[in-house]
Symmetry: C2
Subunit: 768 residues, 2 copies
């Protein structure tokens, strides 16, 4: 059975059945469905609970109403619009910065309190009580996070980056950016990280940023009575896409305090379409985040923020060590890259397997999800508290600048069960916050701080805990587990090579995390910049680039990047930026199939209602016919949502005549603006009387008269390029030979999916 | 009279007359020409010496030959192709890195010798001899640079970034990437910088990188008998575009030692189309550059490179100073940003004016160009040597770590005419290499090193010298003059505010240069990263972002960025990434005009020859007609260059019949691969006998059967978006109503130029 990942759907399953995903004016033949069931990424084709996955409209719908509005708009409106865009960017930056800081503050204080309590109990030799306190606090926090996630917003589980990536590719999954998701993402992430799970807050911050941007962009939430009228300008997918890109960038900037890295992350990993104007706006947003964080950290420096100290907002300053490397180091670095790439792709493979297993458990209901969270929490607590008992104590080094053993909450020389003057190096890593563990691993001050066996045990624990934790019902980022495993691996290699190499173990740890990040996430420039901004050491740049390049190249031979893998596993119809080569063997006409449902320019209300009920298509071709014209002509494409709004207005006529000018007086383009997902008027809400069914309605004012078209003999590869580059939802296929009906069919996103095409043409050679 | 900038054309003028630029199968009506002459950016419409500006083909020409090749290609070929791409990226990185280093080495040694000689003569109180030596050396170097540039490769003058930008937008100006241009660019830049001009080597390095990439990409130069057969894979504009993007990035990386900055610069400023695969490849190239530079600098550290010392490869390490700023500083920074934005846009304005004036002089011939270079050189020498005489000597500060006054070649405490124990602060700035002056200005060790009047005088000199130097016939970058002026301005403000501010004058200088760069070049992220990589201080990031944002926003109110301005002034038909709003008022059919020249699927040789001779169109529609079909149908588009190759083969038939299969056996797609500009077979070379003229030839095998099409009623704005996003050269306009001829016309780049459209429709409201 295929995995069934139900993160987007509240209490239901993801459905990609025919009626949910077909957007064009066409009824699919049973043949297609049969073919599609057999393909591997089709998740839960059977089932009753339809969860809407809707495509987004990035095309400008140039209908008469739009043109009328465009012509009558005044300079002051344009100015207002521009000002608003920048104001929104500012607001997104401000709120994401604040949320990011609040997140850190809360985690540091909760986790700090937990570790303080545990260490005080251990100091009094109350080891069992210490374990109970530690595991108990973890369990309570984990359960809260799990309950929030399982019952209120299942969409908030996981990293969120794959969903945001899919959204920016044009796929709107249910409630992925809803206010409830935002709420659970923020608090679930705080609770989950504080509960000691091997998860990060970075992925969730990206999702949080995107949710904030969406909330601001749609002018608040009507459901929660938070609306701002002046934000009504952005009721279209195009502007929302820009805002959400800014939000995602702001999220990375807030998570890592890496403003430039945030922009690049949004550019390289998250966004599917990019314009130079967007670069400029995301840059502004992340600059605002940087300023907000800087001011708040300044404020906290005087100790007003409880336990928020050095630990908050990771910034691993390894600036002091000047790298000076030789040939041997370069070889070592190459080795790190190769092995890191292999381990990274193995990580992806295992995460995928675990996710598929978990999804079967999660499917059984929210209670099972919470139970899974509880089990993993107990396991994590046992590991963190149990494993250090098996290791020997290390005598504290003499003439150390910092306290050893550490008594307070942070510090990397934990006494654990050790006699005075000794510390437990494994406990210092594993019984600590993730951020502190990373800081210790990257630190260069004492190369012998951690023994080789310690590093090995820690590496294995982090690698496995990271894999089994992702996929449970809490917001869980992938960055931190990967960095943790990578840094311990790198430091391990560094400790082994210490006699041959000029580089110190801290720098090796940094290169190790770079190799793991490259091996799992497959980014290059953005990871490089994020790591630079994190560690504040520009001189490592050439080595870091080398490691990233090698590990990415190695890992690319085995599988896809982890986010792409999750997108695929969730069955989201993601459009790749390049066309698959085998598409060249087909033409556009090969993948469209009939019969086509189209409307006449002035259509009978009954026909429209019937077609809307019969299908769930989102776009219908409109054809101008006699008596208005001599021969049928393609007028354009009309959207389902616009049809419903128009029908609601009931401007029907008894006879078949053009009523466009009257409609233009009554309606404005903004009446047809897109509401949030699932918010607009619905077909079921329409109250069309039986006598109305025989009346006529003029569709011309809402028909997009400039749809993009391709000829049916156009190579499918080139049609795919046009579809992707222009950000389309519907692409009309017109006949080549004159004298045929004016439209052959409409191509949508699903027609370009490999599974669909290979289902239609199983004999095609995929590698040609 | 309009300015006539003739940088691209060897010995001639840029021509944008009708026959040179019209690429579609259409004869323009005289009406249009009349309209176009009056538009402002049309340069030199009249004239006899046609300099070809050709558009590039980024579309994949899917004709039968291509499909045959595609079907028969083997896995090993694909692997070869991929390996070759990466090998080329490696080679581009290596060679650009080497050239960049050589450039620095040469400049440092030549300029170092000059300053050593001058200072030794001054030490002996031989002031006149010192001036003569100084000005004489400058003059010789300048004349050599000017002669190289004026006589051998006029295309090498100026920054080169605008031309590379235009190339990547799809405009191939004559000899802009030719081997001769590369040669002159490298040596001209060395000579020009060493001659003491206020110019940088950064812009020229970008151009150099692009030239190297082009040379490698087209498999060497046939003219100079340097060819590599195994590079034959890249004989198309699409792959070349990618290579040249890598080259441009490598150029920035080599110039600033900023690998990440290089990638971002290519992304933000230079490239018009971007793919994530490209990010990854440019990143690799710049990493190679970084490694090459690092190794060579290591090698030189032991003193084996003559006078190449600290001065080489600018890297202004201001890492020591920790910025800690307050409210007053933020206000000061805002002020710097605003004033920097205004001064930056004024800089652009003045550069534009000066360029237009110079172009009138340059037009008169190479001798006049060299004279202009000589005049500016003398002026610069007089300024550098003369101005410091008007300033008083400053006593050396006590307990200074460095030598004061400096006797050697570098150092920022020049003794000039001063008594022992004193130094001349103005001479230290102005009688020094540009790199050293910047380093002194950004240095934070001694805040009182330069007096306020000194900074003011230096700022004014650099601002004006920078403006009058750009545009003379030497390779001249804009980065360094702008950074010089900006840094002195910033340090001036810092010195004025020294009692109010926590920031030291060195940081103020950095912010000042950021504000000027933002004000002239209007980049954001890439400038930010380049400055960070240059100064190695990540903690300045928030302030730097703030300054860049403010100065760009302010300057954008006045004019365009300096590179865009130059592109426009040169009359290059640059396609902007967004469609102008007023295009919505028109449809695609409004800008195409007849009569159209089209070919039949099997056409008479005489007709083809006639059309090729009559027009200079580069694309012709092919129409399948009776008797082969019942009604005429659009078969596709055929390119002029392919037609000429096909005619050369003389596969003619007496009667009108299809010979496609025979042709497919004889030809391969690579026979039609694009040669370098002006290298392919020419129409004049064809030897078609009179009796051949009545024979027929089958055009089907070379007809691109999947051209992108728009319907004639498509909004022009949306057609423009498709044209730009898909990187097209020809866009077919098809009729809406059935029964008409199957094609209305072809849109090319020039049909989307504002001047053309506003010429056709002068009454249009540009702001709607």
């Amino acid at each position: 059975m295929e995995a069934n990942v139900d993160i987007e759907c509240e209490g239901g399953k993801i459905e990609r059945n025919e009626s949910a995903i077909d957007e064009r004016g066409m009824i699919r033949q049973p043949l297609l469905s049969k073919n599609r069931i057999n393909t591997s990424s089709q998740i839960a084709i059977v089932g009753s609970n339809v969860c809407p996955i809707e495509s987004l409209d990035y095309e400008i719908i140039e209908n008469d109403l739009f043109k009328q509005d465009w012509r009558s708009r005044k300079k002051v409106q344009i100015l207002q619009y521009v000002t608003l865009k920048w104001t929104l960017a500012l607001l997104i930056g401000l709120s994401t910065g604040l949320v990011g800081f609040f997140n850190n503050l809360a985690v540091e204080n909760i986790a700090g309190f937990k570790f303080l309590l545990t260490s005080q109990l251990m100091l009094q030799q109350k080891f069992y009580q210490a374990f109970l306190a530690f595991a108990g606090i973890n369990l309570v926090l984990a359960t809260c996070a799990g309950v929030l996630c399982a019952y209120i917003a299942p969409a908030a589980a996981g990293s969120g980056i794959p969903e945001v990536k899919a959204y920016l590719n044009g796929i709107d999954a249910h409630s992925i950016l809803a206010p409830s998701t935002l709420f659970v993402k923020i608090f679930g992430s705080i609770l989950g990280v504080a509960a000691g799970f091997v998860v990060g807050k970075e992925g969730p911050m990206v999702h949080t940023g995107a949710c904030i941007a969406n909330l601001l962009g749609q002018g608040g939430s009507r459901k929660y009575h938070l609306t701002w009228k002046w934000l009504r300008y952005f009721k279209n997918d195009r502007d929302r896409r820009d805002l959400i890109t800014c939000g995602a960038a702001a999220g990375v900037a807030a998570a890592f305090r890496a403003p430039v890295g945030g922009v690049l992350f949004a550019l390289e990993e998250v966004a599917s379409w990019w314009r130079s104007a967007l670069l400029w706006r995301t840059f502004f947003t992340t600059a605002v985040v940087a300023v907000v964080l800087k001011s708040l950290i300044e404020f906290c420096r005087s100790g007003k923020c409880g336990l928020f100290g050095e630990g908050g907002l990771i910034m691993f300053d390894i600036n002091s060590s000047k790298p000076d490397y030789n040939m041997v180091d370069l070889l070592a670095v190459t080795l790190i890259g190769v092995v890191g790439g292999i381990l990274g792709s193995l990580y992806n493979y295992l995460v995928d397997k675990v996710l598929r297993t978990y999804s079967m458990i999660n499917e059984k209901g929210p209670t099972f999800r919470v139970i899974l969270v509880v089990i993993i929490s107990l396991l994590t607590s046992c590991c963190a508290y149990g494993i250090p008992w098996f290791t020997n104590c290390v005598p504290c080094p003499i003439d150390l600048e910092v306290e050893c053993p550490t008594v307070g909450r942070s510090g990397s020389y934990k006494f654990f069960q050790c006699p005075p003057g000794h510390y437990n190096d494994l406990a210092s890593l594993i019984l600590n916050t993730n951020d502190d563990a990373i800081r210790s691993l990257l630190s260069s001050t004492n190369g012998d701080e951690f023994r080789i066996t310690t590093l090995l045990v820690f590496f294995i624990s982090m690698y496995s805990l990271g894999i089994i934790t992702y996929g449970i019902a809490i917001p869980s980022g992938l960055f931190i587990p990967v960095i943790l495993a990578g840094a311990s691996y790198g430091r391990l290699v560094g400790s082994l090579l210490v006699s041959f190499s000029n580089l110190n173990v801290g720098l090796f740890a940094l290169l190790g995390s770079a190799s793991f990040l490259g091996g799992t996430m497959r980014m290059t420039v953005s990871l490089c910049v994020i790591l630079l901004e994190l560690t504040n050491n520009l001189l490592m740049l050439p080595l870091m680039m080398l490691v990233l390049l090698i590990s990415k190249s190695v890992a690319d031979n085995f599988n896809k990047g982890v986010y792409d893998q999750i997108v695929k596993m969730k069955g989201l119809p993601f459009l790749e930026s390049h066309a698959e080569p085998y598409l060249r063997q087909l033409v556009a006409g090969d993948v469209v199939s009939g019969p086509l449902i189209s409307f006449s320019g002035v259509e009978k209300v009954g026909n429209i209602m019937h077609s809307l009920r019969l299908t769930s298509h989102n776009g219908f071709p409109v054809i101008d016919e006699p008596p208005f014209l001599e021969a049928p002509e393609l007028c354009g494409v009309v959207l389902r949502s616009h049809l419903i709004v128009l029908l609601k207005g009931k401007m029907f006529t008894k006879d078949r005549r053009l009523t466009g000018t009257e409609m233009l007086q009554r309606y404005r383009a903004s009446d047809f603006a897109k509401a949030g997902l699932g918010k607009g008027p619905k077909l079921e809400d329409l109250d069309i009387k039986p006598e109305d069914m025989d009346m006529y309605i003029d569709l011309h004012p809402i028909t997009n008269t400039s749809p993009y078209t391709v000829v049916e003999t156009m190579s499918l590869a080139k049609a795919a390029v046009a579809f992707r580059q222009l950000g389309l939802r519907h692409l009309c296929v017109v006949p080549k030979t004159p004298g045929k009906p004016p439209i052959v069919g409409i191509l949508t996103r699903h027609d370009f999916m490999p599974d669909h095409i290979l289902g239609l043409y199983p004999g095609i050679d995929q590698h040609k």
